[in-house]
């Protein structure tokens, strides 16, 4: 049974087709790494999953429920904002540019949505938030503002912030691309730890070595289509496939 199921996903920007009938299945507890050259549609595919982009056609289901739409005959009607917001709580997302809330401390970032959206009592959220920050190696930095942290630390806070909602699915959009080479390792270490813990993850990345080591499935996109998909050993060693 797959946790994430994408069928015929199609999306064009100003007449340029970015996704062209993509089918993808992600099993619960698995790690799927999306690779492919720039402009191949990896990020758009990821952003469609939590409806940051509006697809033109096709369906996305998480846990058997259609994301952002309800089926009405042969059309999909967009759901109201509140329903989509509720669906997004179960899908965590980590961005290339971290996007930590600059006016809140690390801990503030982590507890904001649990307290404000889920209604978790503050002291409980704080306790859990501290534990999550410790898990990503940031014990003692709870009161630091994002600008007082390095890029790698910020990205780890961003991961803790997404995890605080206890998502069933985690999306990573090039999580190490904005980092100094020296800081990439500490973020990949957290991703490795999550994968080992059984978190279902879809990761867009250019880190081929990471894909080889951690991915259960590597999916190669090219010109909006899935070119190749399979275990890393098969896909990445196939010289005929352009992975980056």
């Amino acid at each position: 049974m797959s946790l994430l199921e994408i069928r015929g996903l199609t999306k064009a920007f100003n007449g340029v087709t970015v996704l062209d009938g993509v089918d993808l299945d992600v099993d619960a507890g698995s790690v799927t790494v999306l690779v492919g050259p720039s402009g191949s549609g990896k990020s758009t595919l990821l952003r469609c999953i939590n409806h940051l982009e509006t697809p033109d056609a096709g369906t996305i289901s998480v846990d058997d429920s259609l994301i952002a739409y309800r089926r009405d005959g042969d059309v999909l009607r967009e759901l109201p904002e509140r329903t989509i917001a509720a669906q997004r709580r179960r899908i965590g997302m980590v961005f290339q540019q971290f996007q930590l809330f600059g006016h809140m401390t690390a801990l503030g970032n982590v507890i904001e949505a649990p307290v404000g959206v889920l209604g978790v009592p503050r002291h409980e959220a704080v306790e859990r938030g501290r534990a999550l920050l410790a898990r990503v190696g940031l014990e003692g930095r709870e009161d630091a503002y994002p600008r007082q942290l390095s890029g790698g630390q910020q990205q780890r806070v961003a991961i803790a912030r997404a995890l605080a909602m206890e998502p069933t699915l985690m999306l990573f959009d090039e999580p190490t691309s904005a980092l100094d080479p020296a800081l990439v390792g500490e973020v990949l270490e957290v991703l490795r730890d999550l994968a080992a813990g059984g978190t279902t993850m879809v990761v867009v990345t250019h880190e081929i070595a990471f894909a080889r080591e951690v991915a259960d499935t590597v999916v190669v996109l090219g010109d909006g289509r899935i070119v190749r998909s399979g275990p890393p050993s098969e896909v990445l060693d196939d010289g005929s496939v352009r992975v980056a």
Binding site: I91, M93, F101, H103, E112
Partner: protein, 301 residues
């Protein structure tokens, strides 16, 4: 004897640096200080300023009442004007083309006409709409009253100032919202927040950093701008002193009374702005800028 050795500086202390002397700085400082003292002295000693009369009227009931009206107008205009401005900015940035156009049209209209003209319009609103009522548009009216009874001069002044302020506040707020990275909203909605919550908790607090300096300008401008309501006979600070000097002919001293109060209020507002800015700078800078008190203490250490 082997003592004929050239004296040597100990190698552990490299030569000390000394800054250049700015002779010109001292000269200019002296010239400007002399001019300032000369100007202050002439203001203090010229009997035409009538400082005795100034102190005599500074705390009279009529002046303090006028001051209270000016404060009321300033606070009400700023608070209500900015609430309307936030609404207008949200309308303008919404995906709804009707709301967006209406907001644009409002700002266009109220920025296109002088505040004085708008005030005179509200003052004469009875000529346009002799009776004002509450009802359903195109439907029945539940009750109505004569405009002249509802729109007193104070209400006319408030309407004029608030509606004018809202147009400018809308642009300040909109500019602030646009200064926040769109990725912040994406990150927030990804966590399951609704757009209203994103605006309130994530975008507006960060927009405040660019909104506050412009707002400080606006509030100070509004404080002094309220003096314009004296033309429709609202007894604000300026109108109060005018009433007195029309009787006593002590024009300059009474204008100074108003001036002193305006300067005091503006100074308080400027200090307030510094601390509000400092509050919203948290997270935006690695360390908060020191307060003037902290700076003073540091220079005496």
């Amino acid at each position: 004897m082997t003592s004929l050795v050239a004296p040597e500086a100990p190698p552990s202390s490299p030569p000390r640096t000394v800054g250049a002397r700015h002779v010109g700085r001292w000269v200019w400082a002296a010239v400007v200080l002399v001019l300032v003292v000369w100007a202050l002295r002439s203001v203090a000693l010229n009997p035409a300023f009538g400082w005795g009369t100034v102190t005599q009227y500074l705390f009279t009931t009529a002046v303090l009442r006028g001051l209270a009206t000016t404060l009321l107008l300033t606070v009400a205009t700023t608070v209500v004007g900015f609430l309307l401005g936030i609404g207008l900015a949200a309308m303008r940035l919404s995906g709804n083309p009707v709301l967006s156009s209406v907001s644009w049209g409002y700002v266009w209209l109220f920025r296109s006409t002088p505040l004085l003209v708008q005030l005179l319009f509200w003052y004469n609103v009875g000529a346009l709409y002799p009776r004002l009522g509450l009802g359903i548009p195109f439907g029945p009216t539940f009750f109505s009253v004569d405009s002249v009874n509802l729109v007193s001069v104070l209400v006319a002044a408030l309407l004029g100032l608030i509606l004018h302020e809202a147009a400018y506040a809308a642009e300040i707020v909109r500019g602030g919202i646009l200064s926040v990275d769109a990725g912040q909203s994406e990150a927030a909605v990804s966590l399951g927040m609704t757009r209203a919550r994103v605006l309130r908790r994530i975008v507006l607090p960060q927009a405040m950093r660019s909104i506050i300096p412009a707002t400080g300008n606006m509030v100070i401008g509004t404080l002094k701008g309220t003096s314009i309501v004296s033309v429709i006979a609202v007894t604000d600070l300026l109108y109060s002193v005018q009433t007195i000097y029309n009787r006593t002919y002590e024009i300059i001293p009474l204008l100074l009374v108003a001036t002193v109060w305006y300067v005091i209020l503006t100074s308080v507002l400027s200090v307030g702005q510094y601390y509000v800015e400092r509050y919203y700078a948290r997270g935006a800078e690695r360390t908060l800028p020191p307060t003037p008190l902290q700076r003073l203490r540091r220079s005496f250490r």
